[in-house]
């Protein structure tokens, strides 16, 4: 399809006007995506276009609640139909007053093309790239299976509302992943390396033969590892685990819609000191190339850098228009929809831990005995209970201030507040977390989130996983 979503501006505005006659506020979110997925494994190879999907959601204030309808398609009859359905919903409610918070009024355009867009690579070259990377895997001993995949998407997001906001942005994402499985005597262990960026072909340079060799080596080594130690102990999180901790364990508790539900263990602690003076955590939707970067959010507010913890003190939360109004502050540009069929919620963008002043060697020496958790796999939030759960693919035992044995996958658990209180050191080197994260709001609405961090020394319960 030629052109972009702005070609439909007058059609969308026409429907906003119709709906706006029945309510004090209405907004439209339109989205268009396309892309391609390429994968090569030891048995097959595949190139497939991702579906070109285009759709729109209308959200209106219904007096006491938000009401919404959405559809695939954007042609005038489709827009009229979805607007009709919303009007039927509104007819059931007596619309009184304005919605909570401040409606965006800005016009924002973020339409800069990538210098080397993935689209220009073409299917044949994309397949050749994946095939070449796969050859690196095929040459590794004991690797029974490997897959190299490359996914790129071009996305347009277009936001209009009855208060005059008119915002358009283009988000081109590229994701590359190498997954390897070592197989021996009926046992299988895996490891992966992945990158996810807003960007173009230049992002693929982060997948190197050395990294592929490393992930193959980790998978192979895991076949012969012992079970990890268990119980409460000193732990060092690697930068990926730290980033996952900041997002899953801490960040979800700063989403202020949980405050409105009285469902955040952090809410009563705003303004309180939670960790050492060197502890700083932020959410930043403006990180260049970040996997969770956007120019504006899905209520039309610009994204920003929002400090969550500064100097060890819990200083800020993430807000949409509703929570900002409830807590007497401003929206932070964190309202996100997974897509046009998904609900807008308060969500994180890129969450980061800023570096401290310890070298890795100093952290290990300080730990004396414990474990380094490496290669994050997952995490899950507990916004009310304040517990944490992080899974690592591997770890290294620390004995007498020395890094020793590799151990297999493990899970970390504990109280987030105790973990923060017990921080004894923060690494001095900042690592950009290129691993593409996928975040759900509870059990729904997955979307891309980025992160970054460094090594972090504290204590927690560790067990096998």
């Amino acid at each position: 399809m030629a052109g972009d979503l702005r070609d439909h501006e007058s059609d969308i505005l026409g429907q906003l006007k119709r709906i706006g006659a029945r309510t004090s506020f209405v907004e439209a979110f339109a989205q268009r995506t396309r892309g391609e997925t390429v994968s090569v494994d030891s048995k097959s190879q595949s190139v497939a276009g991702n579906p070109e999907l285009i759709g729109v959601a209308f959200r209106a204030w219904g007096g006491t609640r938000w009401v919404e309808s959405a559809t695939v398609g954007i042609e005038p009859p489709v827009l009229a139909s979805v607007a009709d359905e919303l009007l039927k919903r509104l007819a059931k409610n007596e619309v009184v007053g304005d919605p909570p918070g401040t409606s965006a009024t800005a016009s924002i355009t973020a339409d800069s093309p990538q210098s080397r867009p993935m689209r220009d690579m073409g299917s044949e070259r994309a397949l050749a790239w994946a095939t070449e990377v796969h050859k690196w895997i095929a040459g590794e001993p004991s690797i029974g299976f490997g897959v190299t995949s490359l996914v790129w998407t071009e996305e347009e997001r277009y936001y209009l509302n009855s208060a005059g906001a008119d915002c358009f942005q283009r988000l081109d994402r590229v994701l590359a992943n190498v997954f390897t499985v070592a197989v021996e005597n009926g046992r299988s262990e895996s490891c992966f390396e992945s990158i996810g960026r807003i960007g173009g072909q230049e992002a693929l340079g982060a997948i190197t033969q050395e990294k592929v060799h490393t992930v193959c080596g980790v998978a192979r080594s895991l076949l012969k590892t012992k079970a990890p130690p268990k119980g409460k102990m000193t732990v060092i999180l690697d930068p990926g685990l730290t980033s996952t901790f900041v997002h899953e364990s801490f960040g979800h508790g700063t989403e202020a819609d949980q405050f409105l539900r009285n469902r955040s263990y952090l809410q009563p602690l705003l303004g309180k000191t939670l960790g050492p003076g060197s502890l700083t955590m932020v959410d930043d939707g403006t990180v260049p190339g970040g996997w969770g970067t956007m120019r504006f959010d899905d209520e039309g507010h610009p994204t920003q850098r929002t400090p969550l913890v500064e100097g060890g003190r819990f200083v800020g939360a993430l807000h949409d228009r509703t929570t900002a109004a409830a807590f007497g502050t401003k929206a932070t540009g964190n309202t996100r929809r997974s897509d046009f069929l998904s609900q807008p919620y308060v969500r994180m963008t890129n969450t980061l831990l800023e570096p401290g002043d310890w070298s890795y060697e100093e952290l290990v020496e300080e730990a004396r005995n414990g474990i380094v958790l490496e290669r994050w796999m997952s995490g899950i939030e507990d916004p009310l209970g304040g517990r944490m759960q992080l899974k690592a693919r591997a770890g290294h035992v620390i004995e007498n201030g020395e890094v020793t044995d590799l151990v297999s996958s493990l899970v970390l658990s504990g109280s987030v507040l105790e973990f923060l209180r017990d921080i004894r050191g923060i690494g001095s080197a900042q690592y950009e977390d290129r691993s593409p994260g996928v975040c759900g709001k509870g059990h729904s609405d997955p979307l891309p989130v980025g992160g970054g961090g460094t090594y972090l020394l504290s204590s927690a319960v560790v067990g096998p996983a």
């Binding site: 999907l53 919404e68 559809t71 299988s188 895991l222 009285n262 209970g385 658990s413 319960v461 067990g463």
Partner: protein
């Protein structure tokens, strides 16, 4: 019975002139949602409409099969033609080690029609959601409990149709309901944070069975979380109910018994001892009200019941047409198109190609009696009610997660609540190392469907527990 229209036929008319095997999978879906904040409705959504199709083209390339695929939501003649051309162009790049795979034919067998559509929901979805939300709040209020911190009910109404070059024309309508409810307990003991129980439930019907009893349990778990303590570290007998096992067994067994794993050298070999010698496991694609049940699988083969483990030994793999052909067996009716995960796993399926996968894993009940009788058999152990997430690893076959709420078992009785710490171990092993499957000490006499698993409660004799002490 509600018949789904053959949306796929509209596309098939344009694909049909091709001289290579093809299929079309089409989906027309509507979703409705209601979200509560306390006892207040804060958001009502729907209809959220989605229509689309995926075209797959199979061409012979160098003795293998080039699989071209393109999904689209454009049903115009130009849009359909573009999707077909893109799929055909992609096929020439693609290779899959199947020789002459045969798509299912019109007369592929008389499919069983499981119950997969809730007529109350289908007839008036917005009203059904309103009533279910009111029923939830009514039950809570009647039991003098505080309102939930939040609740979301999502209902998706789907018409699925499949057509192919061998004349297959299958269509069915179905409903999927997923809900999240979080309830909180405040008050004593002094200084302890609030306790929460956070339910996630996936099913096909709008009404939750035994709602009052379930509500009572959720609040009890939340209250118990306040006074719970971390478990002690060690190897311990662990009791796992079906709602916990559903987060552990299907992801691991679904992969390790798949044709995909078999083709790539990662599957459990046939006739391997993986369970206790009384353990029977089947996969059932036609179980009533199960979320992966349907008359045909996602490429049109009749769904059926097949044995996975018999008396502890592994049996046939799950296959779709392509993998069955590649590994030299017959398709088992296990082609699955998985949506994008989370609550979107059961719609948007037209955007995905079929791969081999399990339907509903069934563990046969044992003779251990009721849950109370199973507990009586445990001298010292832990009942896990909920993990944060069990983190199953399909490849290594291990799992491990934090206990969000559980109970210590002392001398055959449930004792103090447990929270924090981790429980983990192997789900399945092939060399006799301890696992959930070969460590079953007792299995309950009744099985319950939860998500993609129907299972009794299992007493597993030794899993690793990590705690504060």
């Amino acid at each position: 019975m509600i018949r789904a229209p053959m949306l796929a036929s509209a596309v098939a008319d344009w694909v049909g002139s091709l001289d290579v095997p093809w299929d079309v999978y089409a989906e027309r879906a509507r979703r409705f949602e209601i979200q509560l904040n306390g006892n207040r409705v804060e958001f009502v959504r729907g209809p959220l409409r989605l229509e689309g199709y995926g075209v797959r083209i199979l061409t012979a390339v160098d003795g293998q099969t080039g699989v071209g695929f393109q999904a689209s939501a454009d049903f115009t003649p130009q849009g359909t033609r573009a999707a077909v051309e893109t799929a055909r162009a992609a096929a020439k790049f693609n290779r899959f080690p199947a020789r002459q795979p045969e798509l299912p034919a019109t007369n592929a067998g008389a499919p069983t029609s499981p119950k997969i559509l809730d007529p109350e929901l289908w007839s008036d979805p917005a009203r059904a959601l309103d009533e279910e939300a009111a029923a939830l709040l009514g039950s809570i209020d009647a039991q003098l409990l505080p309102p939930p911190t939040f609740a979301t009910i999502r209902a998706t109404l789907i018409e699925t149709s499949i057509a192919n070059s061998r004349g297959l024309a299958a269509a069915y309508a179905h409903t999927v309901v997923d809900r999240e409810v979080a309830v909180k307990s405040e008050g004593g003991p002094e200084g302890r944070p609030p306790g929460e129980f956070w339910l996630e439930h996936l099913g096909r019907r709008i009404r939750l069975e035994n709602l009052d009893a379930q509500v009572r349990d959720w609040y009890r778990f939340a209250a118990d979380a306040r006074r719970a303590v971390a478990p002690t570290t060690g190897e311990t007998t662990v009791v796992l109910p079906p709602e916990v096992l559903s987060g552990i067994l299907p992801p691991v067994l679904g992969f390790q018994f798949s044709g995909s794993a078999l083709l790539r050298g990662m599957a459990v070999p046939r006739d391997t001892m993986v369970g206790t010698d009384t353990m029977d496991v089947t996969d059932d694609g036609v179980l009533d009200w199960a979320v992966r049940s349907s008359p045909v699988d996602d490429e049109g083969s009749a769904q059926r019941v097949r044995r996975v483990v018999s008396q502890g030994r592994s049996e046939e793999p799950f296959t779709d047409v392509l993998h069955a052909n590649a590994v030299g067996t017959a398709p088992s009716g296990n082609a699955v198109r998985v949506g994008r995960g989370f609550s979107d796993e059961y719609w948007r399926k037209f955007t995905r190609r079929p791969v081999p996968g399990a339907s509903t894993i069934i563990l046969a009940p044992g003779d251990g009696g009721s849950d109370a009788e199973l507990i009586e058999q445990v001298e010292d152990g832990i009942w896990v009610q909920q993990f944060g997430w069990a983190n199953p690893d399909p490849v290594s076959g291990t799992f491990g997660g934090e206990v969000r709420i559980g109970y210590r078992i002392r001398r055959g009785r449930l004792a103090e609540p447990v929270r924090g710490g981790t429980v983990g171990g192997a789900v399945i092993t092939r060399d006799g190392r301890p696992s959930v499957l070969n460590g079953v000490q007792a299995a309950g006499s009744a099985a319950t469907l939860y998500g993609t698993l129907r299972s009794p409660t299992l007493v597993v004799k030794s899993l690793t527990v990590s705690g504060e002490a």
